[in-house]
Symmetry: C2
C-alpha cells in the first residue's frame, strides 16, 4: 500500500466521520511536532475519539511506542481505536485495549473477532 | 506579523500546553480539508479545548464563519478560545462567548478586560 493510497483512505474516513456529525481533525505527518498525536481526532456529543488509521494489505503490528501514545490520550478522556482499512473491504475498528492485549498484533482473524464497522459511530 | 512568525508562536504554545500535561495536536494549514478545524486541540483530564491562535500586532476581527466553526466544536463538548499573542507580551486567552458578544472584535482594551493568561491551563 503506497503512502498516497493510505493518505486517500484516511482522508475518506475523516469525511465519513464528518458526515456522521463529528467534528474531525486529521493530523498530517507534517503536523507532527515530536508530540504524541493520533492520525484522526473526532468529537461528538462530548465524546472524543482518537484514531490511528492503517491501510495495510496484510497483518501488521502496532509498535509499543504508538500504543503508549494512544494510551496517554485515553487516560486523558479519549477513546482510542486502531482503524484498519483492509483491501477491498471496509474499515475495521479495534479497541486499543484489545490491541494491547494482543501485543499490538493485528491480523484478519483478530479483526474478525474483535473489530467492528464504521456504523458504530452512527450511535454516538 | 509574518506567517512564519505566527507559525513559530503557535508551535511554542502547543509545546507549552504539552508541558502542562495536555495531549495536544496542531492542525497545520496543509491539514485543513474543507472541514472546520481549529489551530490547536488540547485534551486533559477529560476536558477538551479548541484554540484559534492569532499572532497580531494590532486589534483584529475574527470572521463570523470562523466563530461559527468554533461554536460547532463547542456544542459538541469542547471549550473554545481565541488566543492572541500580543507583540512583546504573552498570550491572552479569550472565551468564544465573549468574542461573539463583541462581534468578533478583539482589541487591547477587550483583551485586558476579558482575557486571561496561560496560567489558566495549570488548573485543568
Amino acid at each position: 500500500m503506497s503512502y498516497r493510497k493510505g493518505y486517500l483512505y484516511e482522508w475518506k474516513l475523516t469525511h465519513e466521520l464528518a458526515k456522521k456529525g463529528f467534528m474531525v481533525v486529521r493530523t498530517p505527518r507534517s503536523g507532527r511536532i515530536g508530540l504524541p498525536s493520533p492520525d484522526i481526532i473526532a468529537l461528538k456529543n462530548g465524546k472524543i475519539f482518537v484514531i490511528e488509521a492503517k491501510a495495510r494489505e496484510e497483518a501488521f503490528k502496532i509498535e509499543e511506542e504508538q500504543l503508549n501514545e494512544l494510551k496517554q490520550w485515553q487516560s486523558n478522556g479519549a477513546s482510542a481505536y486502531i482503524a484498519w482499512k483492509i483491501s477491498r473491504e471496509g474499515w475495521k475498528f479495534l479497541k486499543l485495549e484489545d490491541v494491547i492485549k494482543n501485543n499490538g498484533n493485528i491480523g484478519k482473524k483478530f479483526a474478525a473477532e474483535k473489530g467492528f464497522g464504521i456504523e458504530f459511530f452512527d450511535d454516538i
